[in-house]
Amino acid sequence: MTVINKDLCIGCKICQKYCTVDAFVYDKEEKKMRVDQDRCTECYVCLRQKVCPRDAIKPVELDNFYKQFQHVLSDPVENHGVTGVTGRGTEEVKTNDVSGRVKKGQVGICIDMGRPGMGVYLRDAEKVAMACAEAGVELASQVHTPLAALMPDLTTGKLVDECLGYHLLSVIVEGNCQAEELKQVLQALKKVSKEIDTVFSLGLIVRTDENGETEALSCLDELGIPQPHRGKVNVGLGKPLTLA
C-alpha cells in the first residue's frame, strides 16, 4: 500500500493535485497528510510522478492477493498475470479479428466500472456482474478477463466476499449475449445503474457488415438510448482472420 512518512511530510498538500481518486487527506491536528487507505487504488501515479518534494510518499509491500489485484488493475503499466495483457488485462475488440471472441449474432458486453475517473469498489462491480448474469450474459472466464479470477461461479457473477471492500481505479465486467437478448441486458443495466455508488462506461462489441453497420443496435431506439457516435473499429487486418 501507499503511505505517508510523517517524519518527512510538511503538510504542503501538493500531493492532493496528483491523486486520481482524492485519497490524500490533510490532518488538521497533525498538520500532515495521510492516505485514505479505503479510497487509495494503488495506481502509483503519485509515486511515478515523484510528486512529493520531501519524498514522504512511500510504497509498502502489497501483502495479500487482493491488494496485488487492486494494484495490477489500477496501474496500466502492469501486466495481468493470467491474461498477459497490460491495462485492465483484456483484449476485447482489439484482437477480435483473430480471436473471434465475439461472433456474428452475438454482442460483447464491455462495462468499464468506475470510468471515467470515479473508481469502483468491487461490491459495485459485483452488483453489475450479477445483473448481467441474470439477464443472460455469459460472463467471460479468467482466461480472458481478470475480474473472473474473483468470481467462483460465472453463471451468477457473485464475487468472493473478501474482495468486496477493495477500491480500484477501474475494472471491466465482460461477457457475451445473443443479439436478441441485448434489449433485456440493457434494461437490467439501466436498473442496476441506479443501485451503484459510482459510474460505468458501456461498450457493445458487434461483428459488423463490410460497411461497418449492424442491425444489433436497433433496440437502442426502443429503449430511448442514443445511437453511439464513437467506436473502436477493428479493421480486420490481423491474421489468421476469423470470419465467424
Binding site: G87, R88, E92, S170, I205
Partner: protein, 209 residues
C-alpha cells in the same frame, strides 16, 4: 481494455481525435513482434502521428523515440494519435500494403472513421460502440475537465491537476502547449492527444477572460 473509446467533449472537437493501435493476439501472433512493431511506428510517423508510445516505456512526449523503440518486447502495446482523417487514411493504406498480420484498430467518431476505412479500402471486422456513461453521473467532474481526463482512458490524469494546469495558463505561468505536454506525460500509453488538449485549454482561458 477500452481506454480510448469513451472520450468526452463536443463532437467537433472529437472529430480531430483518432487513436491507432497495433495488437498481437495472445498465443497466436505474439512472438518476436519487434520487427513488425518498428514497421508500424515508421508508417504511423510518416502519416503524422502526433503522439505515440508503448505502455511499457511511456509516450514519445516524455521519452526519446529511440529509447521506446529499443525497449519494445512481446509484452509491448503500441498506440498513438492522429488529428486528421487524411492521416488515418494514409496510415491504413500503408499498413494494409505491409500485410504485417497484427490486429489494427482505429478509435474515433464513427462518421469520420468509417469513411476513412472505406477510402483506405479496409473492411471493418468488429466495432466496440460507446454507449456513454451510466450511473451516478452527477458526481463526475465538469465537462471541460472530463474532455481532458478521458483522453487517458486508464484515468492516470487527476482532475485536480487539470484544474491546476488551466490555472497556471490563466496566470501566464505556462502556455497551453506546455500545460498539454505536462498532462500528456501522465498517460503512459501514448494515446493522449496533446494538440486537442491545448485547444481545449485555450478555449477555456479565452472564455474566462
Amino acid at each position: 481494455m477500452t481506454h480510448s473509446l469513451h472520450r468526452s467533449g463536443p463532437i467537433e472537437s472529437q472529430k480531430k481525435d483518432f487513436n491507432w493501435f497495433m495488437y498481437q493476439t495472445k498465443g497466436v501472433n505474439d512472438v518476436n513482434i519487434k520487427p513488425k512493431a518498428l514497421e508500424f511506428i515508421a508508417v504511423a510517423e510518416a502519416a503524422g502521428s502526433e503522439n505515440w508510445g508503448d505502455v511499457k516505456s511511456g509516450p514519445k512526449t516524455q521519452y526519446p523515440v529511440e529509447y521506446i523503440k529499443d525497449h519494445i518486447s512481446d509484452k509491448s502495446r503500441l498506440r498513438g494519435v492522429f488529428t486528421k482523417r487524411d492521416q488515418v487514411v494514409d496510415f491504413l493504406t500503408q499498413i494494409k500494403a505491409k500485410d504485417l498480420g497484427l490486429s489494427v484498430v482505429i478509435t474515433g467518431v464513427l462518421e469520420e472513421v468509417l469513411p476513412a476505412c472505406k477510402e483506405a479500402e479496409v473492411i471493418p471486422h468488429s466495432i466496440n460502440y460507446s454507449l456513454g456513461v451510466w450511473g451516478k453521473t452527477e458526481n463526475l467532474p465538469d465537462e471541460t475537465t472530463l474532455s481532458i481526463t478521458t483522453m487517458c482512458g486508464h484515468h492516470m490524469i487527476p482532475p485536480k491537476f487539470v484544474e491546476h494546469m488551466i490555472d497556471q495558463v490563466k496566470k501566464g505561468k505556462l502556455t497551453e502547449d506546455q500545460a498539454a505536454i505536462k498532462l500528456c506525460n501522465f498517460c503512459y500509453c501514448g494515446i493522449f492527444n496533446q494538440i486537442r488538449c491545448a485547444e481545449i485549454i485555450s478555449d477555456v482561458v479565452k472564455k474566462d477572460k
